[in-house]
């Protein structure tokens, strides 16, 4: 009797098997379509039109210009194209450094905070505080810190520690790139800490105990247990951090104002400056679509490489 009932239940489960995932997916799908995907399609359509300030009032009247906007954006003989390429390079370097450092610090802190000790909760909260602070205020504070004459950094370097004779600039010139990375890491690594701490909780203690019995030291345990088990979380975390950092607008905009120094010209502000500020949405959309294609390539490469690694393991 119980066997028959169970079998019947499983069969019913089997029939619903078809519809259930779609039903569960439906709310997310509807929201994504309405708020993300349809506007994105509209954005692509905008890139094919000469949508400037003259046509903002009536989009359908804007002339269909086909790939003209794209041609302007990629014309390497013109300043627009070279600047865009330069900006892409700067942004790539920025992203690699920022995400790399944030992940490193996040992992280190997450692992070191695993064992309970007195004050652990407070320290973790302290580390998460930059994430809690409003971006505007936090980045403005950094711009205070980095002021040449009145900032804390130069005060410490020049006045207190006497590491340099003259006061360096941190917000203009070559150092601005380092400042940008520092601010970005300051704001991003707490988030990595958050996700990795949560991820660490799913690793069962017996694994560590078994490894210890086998004679593995702390370092070996981290390498052979912690990091592989965090694989699924890391795969997503790193990818989204890369995408967000690449598209980061707030940090450079608040730190440098409307125009960034050339060594720190990030692509999101660059696109904003070259087009949106003059209401040339056609050109801005074209640049954004190019950015999207670039990131799709990067993501595809990333996912391919990480699935290979998974298959090997």
């Amino acid at each position: 009797m119980p066997v028959t009932r169970a079998r019947r239940r499983r069969r019913r489960f089997g029939l619903r098997y078809q519809a259930t995932p779609y039903l569960m997916l439906l709310p997310a799908l509807v929201m994504e379509l309405a708020v993300h995907l349809i506007p994105m399609v509209v954005g692509v359509w905008m890139s094919l039109k000469g949508l400037t300030q003259f046509y903002v009032r009536n989009w359908s009247a804007a002339p269909f210009t086909g790939l003209a906007n794209y041609r302007v954006a990629v014309d390497l003989h013109g300043p627009v194209g070279t600047d865009l390429l330069h900006s892409l390079g700067v942004t790539t370097a920025y992203t690699v450094l920022s995400v790399g450092l944030s992940w490193l610090l996040g992992t280190a802190a997450a692992v070191l905070l695993q064992r309970p000790f007195r004050g652990r909760g407070l320290i973790r909260t302290l580390f998460l505080t930059p994430y809690a602070l409003p971006a505007y205020a936090a980045v403005i504070t950094w711009s205070f810190l980095l002021q040449r004459d009145t900032g804390l950094l130069n005060h410490v370097i020049v006045d207190d520690l006497h590491l340099a004779g003259h006061r360096p600039f941190w917000l203009i010139g070559g150092n601005s790139f380092a400042s940008l990375v520092a601010v970005s890491v300051w704001r991003t690594w707490p988030f990595a800490l958050l996700c990795l701490t949560a991820g660490l909780q799913t690793i069962p203690d017996e694994l560590y105990e078994a490894a210890a019995i086998d004679g593995a030291g702390f370092g070996r345990q981290v390498r052979t247990i912690t990091l592989p088990m965090l694989g699924a979380v890391n795969k997503v975390l790193i990818l989204v951090l890369v995408l967000w950092t690449f598209n980061d607008f707030n940090t450079p905009y608040v730190l440098f104002g409307k125009s960034a120094p050339r060594p720190s010209d990030l692509i999101s502000v660059h696109i904003y400056q070259s087009s949106f500020i003059t209401w040339n949405f056609g050109l801005g959309s074209a640049m954004s679509v190019l950015l999207l294609l670039f990131l799709l390539l990067v993501t595809a490469a990333y996912l391919t490489v990480t699935s290979w690694r998974r298959n090997d393991a």
């Binding site: 509807v30 003259f54 203009i172 104002g257 125009s259 070259s274 003059t278």
Partner: protein, 437 residues
């Protein structure tokens, strides 16, 4: 089974919850409902958004008492204003009246979103002859009807620290740039500098590029509207300004990163003896400087006058009041414009905000008879010119402002600034306008 039902309910709730989450709908300011109501987007002119509300509300009540029309006021901060105007323009849903920066006039005119003030409309609000010529010039492209009317006017002047001048043995503020450099050198010593400059601020840079350019006989756009930022006159003009830091060394190299009014702070705290600014009085006061400590003079000119040089030392700065073309209450809106440009209102509001009336009859009030105001008035009436009224004006501000910010950064790090170098940067900016426009 029960769980499944709960699950479905949960999913439905998740979808519907957002719709009901907003307890209490916030008022929609699109086009206003009742026939006797107008919506007005005011810009931030006072010490805070609340302060603007406190200043404007009594005037709006006065208007209601006179005409029976209620005005719904929303004060919008500068970081948001252009975005909100963009949203309103795109959707067709916006206020009836709005303040715009007068440098936006030509660009907004190109969108067609604002009601043009043709002769008939102008007459409905009292006629265009009432306005100061300089202020009215900054309301749109030449040859087209104004797209807004000026309500607050401002210009650049030279602020100088009286005590520091006396200590350095300077008896009068400079009237030419050579005199300014000489005075600046006398003032520059021991952590003190001659002139404070807002080198990281794109608009400030662009405004000076314009004024200096006019003195060097250069026009930023030619007669057909094409950019010519790299003309010899403009190159010389910009180089003159950058050289204050690069060659004359009367400007603190740190000023190259100033973009948040730090130059005003430096002037107020005695770190710099001179400052080129619009209306700095309330800022200086909040930084502890008393009006007796500083004096105001017209911005210097270039001597000898370069070929083609115009007698211009400032752009016409100010705020215009515009009517949204889609407004459903055109007559009521025009009544409000007439009210805001009436003598009484011009005197009251400009007195509070520290700006200048845009109508000639507004200057009869004794509040506008101080030497400082007279300096502003003279500048506005005789030596101020509007920025080029072309749709590409905002591109000019961004591109040329950025070039100058880069030049200041180079100067601050000790790199020599040559005319050829300046010209190459400006030529690149030129090309970017052509491409993006």
């Amino acid at each position: 089974m029960r769980l499944r039902r709960i699950g479905v309910l949960a999913a439905t709730a998740a979808l519907l919850l957002p719709l009901s989450a907003a307890c209490g709908k916030s008022s929609n300011d699109s086009g206003s409902g009742a026939a006797g109501t107008l919506t007005y987007w005011a810009s931030n002119q006072g010490t805070s958004l609340d302060n603007d509300k406190a200043v404007l509300q009594p005037e709006l009540d006065k208007f209601k008492a006179q005409t029976g029309i209620t005005v719904n006021l929303e004060v919008i901060g500068w970081p948001d204003l252009l975005n909100r105007i963009l949203a309103a323009t795109t959707s067709g849903q916006g206020p009836d009246l709005l303040n715009i920066g007068n440098t936006w006039s030509a660009s907004l005119q190109a969108t067609g979103a604002l009601l043009p003030f043709d002769d008939a409309t102008m007459n409905a609000i009292g006629g265009k002859d009432r306005f100061l010529a300089g202020s009215l010039a900054a309301t749109g492209a030449p040859g087209k009807p104004p797209t807004a009317v000026p309500i607050y006017s401002l210009a650049y002047v030279l602020y100088y620290n009286k005590k520091m001048f006396t200590a350095a043995g300077i008896s009068n503020p400079p009237t030419t740039w050579n005199e300014l450099v000489a005075d600046g050198k006398k003032l520059t010593h021991d952590g003190q500098w001659g002139l404070a400059v807002e080198g990281g601020n794109l608009s400030e840079n662009a405004h000076h590029a314009f004024a200096f350019g006019q003195q060097y006989g250069a026009d930023l756009f030619d007669s057909s509207g094409k950019p010519q930022f790299d003309s010899d006159g403009e190159v010389a003009a910009i180089k003159r300004y950058i050289d204050f830091m690069a060659a004359d060394k009367i400007v603190n190299p740190s000023d190259a990163e100033y973009a948040n009014n730090q130059s005003v702070t430096d002037f107020a705290t005695g770190k710099a003896g001179m400052l080129l600014w619009q209306a700095a009085d309330s800022s200086l006061k909040s930084h502890g400087m008393s009006p007796d400590d500083y004096g105001v003079a017209p911005v210097p000119f270039e001597q000898p006058v370069p070929p083609g040089g115009k007698h211009v030392n400032s752009m016409v700065a100010g705020i215009n009041l515009a009517v949204f073309a889609n407004t459903k209450h055109k007559d009521a809106a025009l009544k409000f414009v007439k009210f805001m440009t009436s003598d009484a209102e011009q005197v009251a509001l400009n007195k509070t905000y520290g700006s200048m009336p845009t109508v000639q009859s507004g200057y009869s009030d004794p509040a506008f008879h101080t030497t400082e105001v007279k300096t502003f008035q003279e500048v506005l009436a005789t030596t101020a010119a509007p920025l080029p009224a072309v749709p590409e004006e905002s591109q000019f501000e961004t591109l040329v402002g950025t070039v100058m910010k880069g030049l200041f950064a180079d100067a601050a790090s000790g790199k020599p600034i040559t005319s050829a170098y300046v010209k190459s940067k400006l030529s690149a900016a030129n090309q970017q306008v052509k491409a993006g426009g």
